[in-house]
């Protein structure tokens, strides 16, 4: 059976670049109403913690069009499979209210379309998930049971 690099070994920089990719063509929507594109974001906060319910990382991204305006929140899980990974939207179609509600999610990640090849190539080539021969990857010790802020910044053109 083929092995792959665990999601839990992603570095902070790789976590940020993963968010950059998955929200790059960002069209976070609620009930079909487009909220904003990533190009409009002026505030972004990336938090992660151990997914607990599955092997992997849960991401929570808060973002806003204006720094001081109300933040929208979107969340997804990267889960380790046996020889693959899953990108799982955190929403009420998938998880219980007890799990979803504390996250204060306002945008459904499932509403953000992702280019299949680009996403796969990113994980295969940039993050080298399927290449264990280059360097030994170690667990990112920042990823624990409590939220860890990987990035919080004001985005300026």
């Amino acid at each position: 059976m083929e092995r792959i690099r665990s999601i839990l070994t992603l570095t902070d920089d790789e976590i940020i670049s993963t968010v950059d990719l998955l929200l790059k063509i960002s069209r976070p929507v609620i009930d079909g109403v487009e909220l904003m594109s990533s190009g409009d974001m002026r505030y972004r906060k990336i938090e992660v913690k151990s997914a607990e319910i599955v092997p992997g990382i849960i991401f929570r991204i808060s973002y806003a069009e204006e720094v001081n305006s109300k933040k929208d929140v979107v969340s997804f899980i990267l889960e380790d499979g046996i020889n693959d990974i899953f990108i799982l939207p955190v929403n009420r179609a998938r998880y219980t209210a007890d799990f979803v509600n504390p996250l204060n999610i306002t945008s459904n990640f499932a509403g953000i379309d992702q280019p299949v090849r680009e996403v796969y190539m990113f994980f295969a080539e940039n993050l080298q998930l399927w290449n264990l021969s280059i360097v030994p990857f170690s667990i990112n010790n920042n990823i624990k049971d409590d939220w860890y802020t990987v990035e919080e910044k004001i985005i300026i053109d």
Partner: protein, 178 residues
Amino acid sequence: MAAIGNNIRDVYSLTNEEIIGLVDFIFPDGGGNMETVMYNRKAMKVVIYRKIEIVPSFDEGSIFCRVTFGFSDESKSLVTGFELLSNLDDYCFTSLSKAYIGDAYFKKLGINFDFSAFNIEIRALYKHLEDNLKMWGDEFAYYEQFPQNPEMMKVFNSKGLGSYIVQEVHSPVIEQIS
């Protein structure tokens, strides 16, 4: 003509057999993966019915695939679906969820289950599109190698929210598929 790059295949050229193969990949065991991904729902026993339809999308270069499952212990069918959208030199594969297509269109399509509750392995999905469906090629005007699916085009060229049935099977045919 769909808005696609030169080196990818037109989604309108997918044959009925290829669409069935894609659905089989997404819903292995004739839909038997459903109970494993749902929280707080009773297991849905045996799939005894499956219908696959192609519905015109509101995007150019895109198809909506609607899949209906019937279960041995449920009177209500489960209707779910996904979009395969060509995007220059790539494809977006997205659940037909309320979040994506809006509540009104979600209801109009008759969908009652958000496909985003399913687990899709990202490498396996890419490999299926690449190896089985040959969605990417190196040649210029690669898309010209694949004629458009006449049944699909007939629906797309008609006005309204029509659809065509790619496959409709009852048990025990489902068991043969899985």
